[in-house]
């Protein structure tokens, strides 16, 4: 009987914990509430399945536990029952997979006209690059990285020269405009993760990865690294600020371009010193 009690308690306790727990996702700040909805659908389907299985087990233990004189039934197979269960499981799985794939298609289809923003990860800090007046990012190469050119921009590419570079500072994004985050790493794997955005993606040295989002509320959010990148992994923090359009333009005007930074390159960028100190 302790077993029956424990199983019922476990099923009921899990459901109550889910309903009453103060631990839930942080309020969303991007367009990916579709993802939250898919999670809710999944919680419902899996929650019902879990409770049903555990309670059925509790019933079996209660009803069919050994008592003197009991004998078990002899029933090797039941085609009908097995077919019915397999079919309903397939339907339940399809009910979760279909919205999942639908939203995934949105997730990987970047809308026309999304602004490109580059995030560069290195042990253990974030840097950012925004397109200059020409509206596009210049080319870059890990091989071109020097203490004066910490992001490895191509000096021979005209598009690079007006790119705005933010090292060690905050990233700002305008509200309501789709942004394609281009992700790059110069050393090991990192992962650009802002819990409020829901989206995240690894940054892989040697290639450029991406995801896109539209910020939907202003505020200041933490950037975390979500892929183990060495002992400094938990300290690799950054800040992203979602601004109104005016605030964003004001902030943008303060940023320095690659050519401006190169002109004053005798002062070593603070980021490199910080990296050396962290080591």
């Amino acid at each position: 009987m302790a077993v029956v009690f424990a199983l019922v308690l476990l099923a009921a306790g899990s459901v109550l914990f889910h309903l009453l727990s103060p631990w839930w996702w942080t309020p969303i700040a991007s367009n990916w509430n579709y993802i939250d909805n898919t999670i809710i659908i999944t919680f419902w389907i899996t929650g019902i399945a879990f409770t049903a299985v555990v309670l059925f087990m509790a019933y079996c233990v209660l009803r069919f536990r050994h008592r003197p004189g009991n004998t078990a039934a002899y029933e090797p197979e039941n085609r009908k029952l097995e077919g019915w269960l397999a079919t309903s499981t397939t339907l339940g799985v399809a009910a979760m997979l279909a919205p999942g794939l639908f939203v995934w298609n949105q997730f990987i289809t970047v809308p026309e006209g999304a602004t490109e923003v580059e995030v560069v990860g290195q042990q253990w800090l974030w840097s950012y690059r925004l397109p200059g007046a020409d509206g596009r990012l210049g080319t870059s190469e890990t091989r071109d990285i020097t203490p004066e050119n910490t992001l490895g921009l191509n000096r021979n590419d005209a598009a690079s020269l007006d790119d705005l570079i933010i090292e060690g500072g905050e990233l700002h994004l305008p509200i309501g405009k789709p942004v394609k985050m281009l992700l790059r790493s110069v050393d090991v794997l990192h992962d650009f993760y802002v819990p409020e955005f829901r989206a995240k993606m690894d940054m892989v040295p040697g290639m450029v990865t991406y995801f896109w989002l539209t910020p939907t509320r202003t505020g200041t959010f933490e950037i975390l690294c979500a892929e183990l990148c060495g002992v400094g992994h938990p300290q690799m923090r950054g800040t992203v600020v979602v601004d109104t359009e005016e605030d964003y333009q004001a902030w943008l005007a303060e940023q320095q371009s690659f050519s401006q930074l190169s002109a004053s390159s005798e002062t070593k960028p603070a980021a490199t010193i910080a990296a050396a100190a962290a080591r």
């Binding site: 078990a72 975390l224 060495g230």
Partner: protein, 592 residues
Amino acid sequence: MVDVRSGIGEPLPPPEVEDVELYHPHSWWTRYVFSQDAKIIAIQYATTAIAIGMVALVLSWLMRLQLGFPGTFDFIDADAYYQFITMHGMIMVIYLLTALFLGGFGNYLIPLMVGARDMVFPYANMLSYWIYLLAVLVLVASFFAPGGPTGAGWTLYPPQAVLSGTPGGKDWGIILMLASLIIFIIGFTMGGLNYVVTVLQGRARGMTLMRLPLTVWGIFTATVMALLAFPALFVACVMMLFDRLLGTSFFMPAIVEMGEQLQHGGGSPILFQHLFWFFGHPEVYIVALPAFGIVSDLISTHARKNIFGYRMMVWAIVIIGGLSFIVWAHHMYVSGMNPYFGFFFATTTLIIAVPTAIKVYNWVLTLWRGNIHLTLPMLFALGFIVTFVNGGLTGLFLGNVVVDVPLSDTMFVVAHFHMVMGVAPIMVIFGAIYHWYPKITGRMLNEALGQIHFWVTFLGAYLIFFPMHYVGLVGVPRRYYELGEMAFVQESVHTLNAFISVMALIVGAAQIVFLFNLAWSLRHGREAGGNPWRATTLEWQTPETPPPHGNWGRELPVVYRWAYDYSVPGAAEDFIPQNQPTPGRMSHEAVS
């Protein structure tokens, strides 16, 4: 429709292979140490796996101390923390679970359950264990090497695994880890070939494939998978070793490490991830399938009822084994691989849920209208179903590509895989030990100690890992030495973390009760007799308990029926052993 009990009363096929003379040991050394007897090798494997598993248990205590009470313990710095999680993960997955299920249970049960005298290649089988032991020693050596063991995480992702920002990356740690894995795979291959060939060629007369107990089906399929999956890990390890030692660039693109240009270029870190998970995902089922098989037999025996839908269970094992080779990249949804892969791998991953769910239904339907004896093996089997269903269902979150995006690399993932491939298979291991210990030693394990062990372990483990999902749902990332200040993390999350840590200490301590029981019952346990559970499978029908070298005495057993003739209407007893020709009469071996 084919009757699952097919062939009863049909004439037996003639023996295909002559009974062969075994190698007989001449000294204490060849009998108990360099033994070629699968049963001794099984005990050697199991003892070594449990011993190194205790190291992993202590490491989990240390990491939970840090997570629950950050800053309290000076000796756990960031380097040590990452070394602890890495070694904990690798030990649990490879050196404990894989070794114990295949090397331990596989060796003990396959020959006995299929009615063979031993494995077909006993010498290679012996080598398999000693090479495994060497792999464990090399792994342990990394704790004492300069720089300590690797702290790269058990996934060992390059480039960080071989760079200086990671503990052991530029020291001995990563080299010893890769070397140990390579040695392990060599040793495993020798054992694995044995298990496969013994199941295919060493079965007793009348033991058709569709009469094999599900335990054998689970271990057999897992071994076939391991033989196909481990080579991917093998080449990945060799390549990374070359990158680290010879300066090659298989996984190393152009890199600027701490402001310094490295000599590498052109390699792909994602290639390693594909190789790793091509092994790594089947590995989940290499651990799970033996557990599926064993728990099926535990439930059937202790509910005194045939396993429900035997043929469906066999096909589910085979289909899961096959599908598990085309789902690997669901570990890589946010790795930066081509995002269109997501459609394919999410679909295959969710399809695998169907045969898995069928297995769960068949376990609970075996309980239905059974005669459930709440013995310790049955309790652990029930604990397995609960934790496996829980962990399997959260897999539907993580497998469904877009749902994985916010949850990936958070504590939700940690909770999920611990529930599904940590707690659940370990429940089966415990159940199996309580079940087969009487056959291995001739004595029963102590019931009262077993009850304490079960309740603390089952409820405690659930209280550790169920709430942990919600820590991940909040957004707390995994593999963080300390959370520090995170604006979106409420203070109560830290309290929850402390609670989880306390539970982890308690559950860990309960394992000491289990180890004590194993030792104490060896001399003081109740005499078990030959077949204390009144089970049908061949290992319970040996003429002597514990079975001696050669298992069967003069005559090999002959099999007349499937493994699940429990509570057959009209039979004299509620079980009919597989080697009993007619339902009414008891064969002499079966009486305990």
